[in-house]
């Protein structure tokens, strides 16, 4: 899986596509860790092009969220599809990774 990255100055948007699974999760998590280490700790993961997530993908998002918050930032997710929303709810992760409908909404107070 490839992912696009857009640095908007105040935040960085990462846009994975396809299956966010045990193959795709480690490189995305590694990139998030690099960004946070560079001081870019306000991150949006735009999920509009992800059609399937597994527990590895969830782990990468949680790991990224923790890393970003430790540096005073945050990781937010936007534009999740039906399967991603279902899995977030089933794992109770929607409580700490509330899915925003759009990237613009996710930016509301940044």
């Amino acid at each position: 899986m490839n992912f696009e990255e857009t640095d908007q100055g105040t935040h960085v948007v990462l846009t994975p596509e396809g299956k966010f699974n045990l193959v795709a999760a480690p490189p995305l998590k590694a990139r998030i860790d690099d960004l946070v280490a560079e001081g870019k700790a306000r991150l949006i993961v735009d999920l509009h092009a992800v059609d399937f997530i597994d527990s590895s993908g969830l782990g990468a998002l949680i790991g990224g969220l923790k890393a970003a918050r430790q540096q005073g930032g945050d990781l937010r997710i936007a534009a999740a599809g039906a399967q991603v929303k279902a899995v977030l709810k089933l794992t109770n992760l929607d409580r700490i990774l509330a899915p925003y409908e759009t990237v613009e909404e996710a930016l509301h107070d940044w």
């Binding site: 399937f52 527990s55 782990g59 990468a60 949680i62 039906a82 279902a86 089933l90 700490i96």
Partner: protein, 145 residues
């Protein structure tokens, strides 16, 4: 048409190595089964796929010897349920079933609990030198989400 005996029941089968590159083939197998059964609720298919992939992931990640484990998936769509059987040649082990969902901060440990949450039956047996999983989701129920 009563449908009794009129519906051809087909097994959807995939055999190969339990390696990350083969996970797409598992998705494709499930898509083939779903494509032949347009009566299936997309939510049932989606949640069943989620569970099957989690169990497949476990075999890919923990099956030993790494890269040499072979697996066989068999998917069956019935009137009231969808079933997957997974046999693999990995080492014997005892799955940690029934442990519940880990806490919000955990970065791992959600695979089997997630599968258990969306399946009506999940059974594991060691049959000879093969691990055998049987996963069933009943169809047409109110989704648990």
């Amino acid at each position: 048409m009563t449908g009794d005996g009129a519906t051809e029941r087909k097994d959807y089968v995939l055999e190969g190595f339990a390696v990350p590159e083969q996970l797409d083939a598992v998705h494709t197998l499930l898509a083939e089964a779903a494509g032949d059964h347009p009566e299936l609720d997309p939510m049932d298919v989606m949640l069943f796929e989620t569970a099957v992939i989690e169990i497949a992931n476990n075999v890919v990640e923990y099956g030993r010897p790494e890269g040499e484990v072979r697996w066989k998936f068999t998917i069956r769509v019935r009137e009231d349920e969808i079933e997957a059987e997974l046999d693999d040649t990995g080492q014997t082990f005892t799955p940690a079933q029934g442990k519940g969902m880990p806490g919000e901060d955990a970065e791992g440990g959600r695979g089997l609990p997630l599968a258990e949450a969306v399946l009506d039956k999940i059974e594991f047996d060691r049959l000879g030198d093969t691990n055998h999983w049987r996963m069933v989701r009943r169809l047409g129920q109110t989704p648990p989400i």
